[in-house]
């Protein structure tokens, strides 16, 4: 039974063009579509981060047991400030304070990466591959794709906040504080969803878009770390507040929790998203704000060997890394004296234990930790390089090259040689720059040579990482991402191993642990030679595997 009046329906008139509000048409469908495409990726991110909370809650009490005081000194020391944060609660460390104050930073970084990748995946990657052209040609408003991506990101961040909050709340007393920590992670995620919404408009190339957003994250890290280190025992400084990471960390969960810093995060996220919308309205589908430039019509004369080809492909990435490391090296080097001053009164036995010497060696301990930090950054360059080599093959660009008179050996070997030389070059550059800056800061010229030697001493360890990536790229190309496991293991053991006191073999598995921490320790050659031999063996195995297998085809 219907209540319609009996007049026959008028023939359907052609729909008028939607007037107003039409730019969001289709958002709901696109949201569902995005969730369908991310049905594995997104739950995996959320699940891993939640499980990690439970893992820390279960594992840390054992580790912390006798070391509570050492942990507190670590948190408030310069290395703790670099790697953890402002160190709230360092005078009465509990497991939950340790999770929030030291490992919390990595939850924040993970949330930022999750959002950068998510927004890039549903905006710029779609445009670059031309898929969004299909979507936009149907009944979909101009702003719908970006809105859908941001809706999914916002939903993911809320869910992440609730999951982490619940995990903390069931593991520790004061559930409200647990949810505050969860919210601080979700809020940072929102900020970087906004950042990615902006960078996705700038470049028409998705890797550049996520790269710029990643650079913003890197800058946020550098600023926060510098600010927290300068703050000494004052839990951060004014400089810290210029970084979104600090807004989340300044909520001080389990110490004296406060919600208001998250207002800054939400405001920044909203502002960035608004900028993203404004920029997207000014450009064509598929285009960037920065138009692609024309290039040379013929190749330079030097571009004529497998090695030159590999260098040409990695050149841009090398230059960007060099620029970033120079900035970081100058910043951390120049801060050497102020940071040491900030901690001058903190020379208790625990801090000395962490930094491995007596109080006069505080400076050298700080520098040694910074060198390991730089070595890990250069390792990131190396592993990303491994991914780039893999992409050459999987995208079908290796095929025409290997159909010329370039052998398998020369192709992969050329890439690896460029990456190896690039890694050593980056270590040298950051060593010189940081050495010069800290020598100027402290007023002792000897630090230039010390820091150059200290950085270069890590070259064999970084090359072992390259070897791992080479072995994977050569033998099991789909698994090249496993090289990150070696990286994360090395970084975790390098910085947090001494706090946890695991058996010696756990340290020995990490290549970075075999390198003397110059200037605190004297350079020892035999381990470096062994590491170099291991790296060479891994590379050789990778090359041999690559010569034997089929080329991946598209």
């Amino acid at each position: 039974m219907t209540a319609t009046t009996a007049t026959p329906a008028a023939p359907a008139r052609p729909a008028r063009p939607a007037a107003g509000g039409g730019t969001l048409t289709g958002t709901g469908t696109l949201v569902r579509f995005a969730l369908r495409r991310d049905r594995v990726k997104l739950p995996a991110w959320l699940l891993v981060l939640t499980v990690l909370v439970f893992y820390y809650a279960a594992a840390l009490p054992e580790v912390l047991g006798d070391n509570v005081q050492a942990f507190g000194r670590f948190m408030v020391g310069p290395v703790g400030a670099l790697l953890g944060g402002p160190g709230y609660g360092s005078d009465a460390v509990t497991v939950e304070i340790a999770i929030v104050g030291v490992y919390g930073l990595y939850f924040l970084i993970a949330a930022a990466l999750m959002n950068i990748l998510l927004v890039a995946r549903h905006t710029r990657v779609e445009e670059q591959t031309g898929r969004s052209e299909l979507v936009r040609a149907s009944v979909v408003g101009r702003h719908a794709p970006l809105t859908a991506a941001l809706v999914v990101a916002a939903g993911a961040n809320v869910l992440l906040a609730l999951l982490i909050g619940t995990a903390m709340a069931v593991s520790f007393p004061h559930p409200g504080q647990g949810f505050l920590f969860g919210a601080s992670v979700g809020a940072l995620g929102l900020v970087f969803a906004g950042v990615a919404a902006v960078t996705a408009q700038v470049s028409e190339y998705s890797r550049a878009a996520s790269g710029i957003a990643g650079a913003v994250l890197g800058a946020a890290y550098v600023v926060r770390a510098a600010g927290d280190m300068l703050g000494g025992e004052a839990h951060g400084s004014a400089l810290s507040w210029f970084s979104p990471l600090a807004w989340s960390q300044q909520t001080r969960p389990y110490v004296d929790g406060r919600w208001w810093p998250l207002l800054l995060s939400v405001a920044a996220a909203a502002g960035a998203a608004a900028v993203g919308y404004a920029l997207s309205a000014r450009r064509d589908v598929g285009a960037g704000l920065v138009a692609a430039r024309r290039g040379r019509a013929a190749a330079a004369a030097w571009l004529s060997s497998p090695l030159a080809y590999a260098f040409r492909l990695h050149r841009a990435s090398l230059l960007w890394w060099a620029a970033a490391l120079v900035v970081a090296g100058v910043a951390y080097g120049a801060l050497t004296q102020p940071i040491v001053d900030a901690f001058a009164d903190a020379g208790t036995s625990e801090l000395i234990a962490v930094l491995g010497g007596d109080v006069s060696q505080l400076l050298d301990g700080y520098l040694g930790a910074m060198v390991l930090f730089d070595a890990l950054l250069v390792s990131v360059f190396v592993v990303l390089g491994g991914h780039a080599v893999r992409a050459e093959e999987s995208r079908g660009r290796a095929e025409p090259v290997l159909a010329t008179a370039v052998s398998r050996w020369a192709w992969l070997g050329g890439h690896l040689a460029v990456l190896a030389a690039g890694a050593v070059g980056l270590l040298l550059v950051v060593g010189v720059v940081m050495g010069a800056a800290s020598a100027a800061s402290v007023g002792e010229a000897g630090y230039v040579a010390d820091l150059v030697v200290a950085h270069l001493a890590y070259a064999p360890a970084v090359l072992v990482l390259l070897g791992v990536a080479a072995l994977l790229a050569g033998v099991a190309p789909r698994a090249v991402g496993l090289a990150w496991v070696a990286f994360v293991y090395g970084g975790f053991i390098g910085f947090f191993g001494p706090l946890m006191g695991p058996p010696q073999w756990v340290f020995n598995l990490s290549p970075y642990e075999h390198v003397a921490r110059v200037p605190l320790e004297d350079l020892t050659w035999p381990p470096l030679l062994v590491l170099t031999a291991v790296a060479a063996g891994l590379v050789a195995a990778g090359l041999a595997g690559f010569r034997r297998r089929d080329l991946g085809t598209t």
Binding site: Q128, A292, G295, A299, A300, S304, R397, A403, T404
Partner: protein, 304 residues
Amino acid sequence: MPAVIETHQLVKTFGSTRALDGLDLRVEQGEVHGFLGPNGAGKSTTIRVLLGLLRADSGRATVLGGHPWRDAVSLHRRLAYVPGDVELWPNLTGGEAIDLLARLRGGLDRRRRDELIERFDLDPSKKGRTYSKGNRQKVAIVAALASDAELLLLDEPTAGLDPLMEVVFQGVIRELKAEGRTVLLSSHILAQVEKLADTISIIRRGRIVQSGTLVEMRHLTRTSIEAVTARPVTGLDQLAGLHGVEVSDSRVRFAVDGQHLDAAVRHLSGFGIQSLTSHPPTLEELMLRHYGDELAASGNGERS
């Protein structure tokens, strides 16, 4: 003279898929050899094995007298390749990609490169990521043809080219043929192969199902006949090898197998032929005879 390409019982499997299933292919010196088959028949896999990019599981392959896997580098100096799906480096220009690929093969004839860029109307100063599919294809074609390679392996080289450019491409291939080079031209575009190829091989499910010159293959197949006669034709049902016979008054239409053509035309002439048209089988008809059963079974000519 030994064949430029010769394979014997070549087998290549990917997991449970048998991409090549005992492939016997022979390409002679100086010919343009059409390599025909629908998508997924194994054309690209064959070419990649011949390039040493994939390693055959069993069987034998010889390219220019060498072993495609073991002698890959030395063979690649003497051959050039155009992939079916060209990917370029996003931050290299087309001109840079052409020069790089040609130099890595062992040399570039700059005059010929510039001439080809001109003929194909390619802008070499654009970055790789800004090219359309057709223009990416042109980059790969110019890079391959600007060489002095003895053998060209072209995997659906004109997919994405517009008809004008296809004519240019055909012209260039004819020149190369006149210079005595050997070309393996894979395609599912039949008309293109018909225009260029001396011999063809038809591949289906990883096997060569038919191979020979166009003339030989047409001999094996049916010719379509349409005739108008003075008196109505009778007795056609007595003749062997006729198909699809239609008779209406003085007009008759049928297809006849090659070896029965003579008898059929003799028979017609007894009724006073007033007009006669015959046309040789097109490659479409050749292909349909090989894939017709699949077409009937699946409703389309492709197999995943």
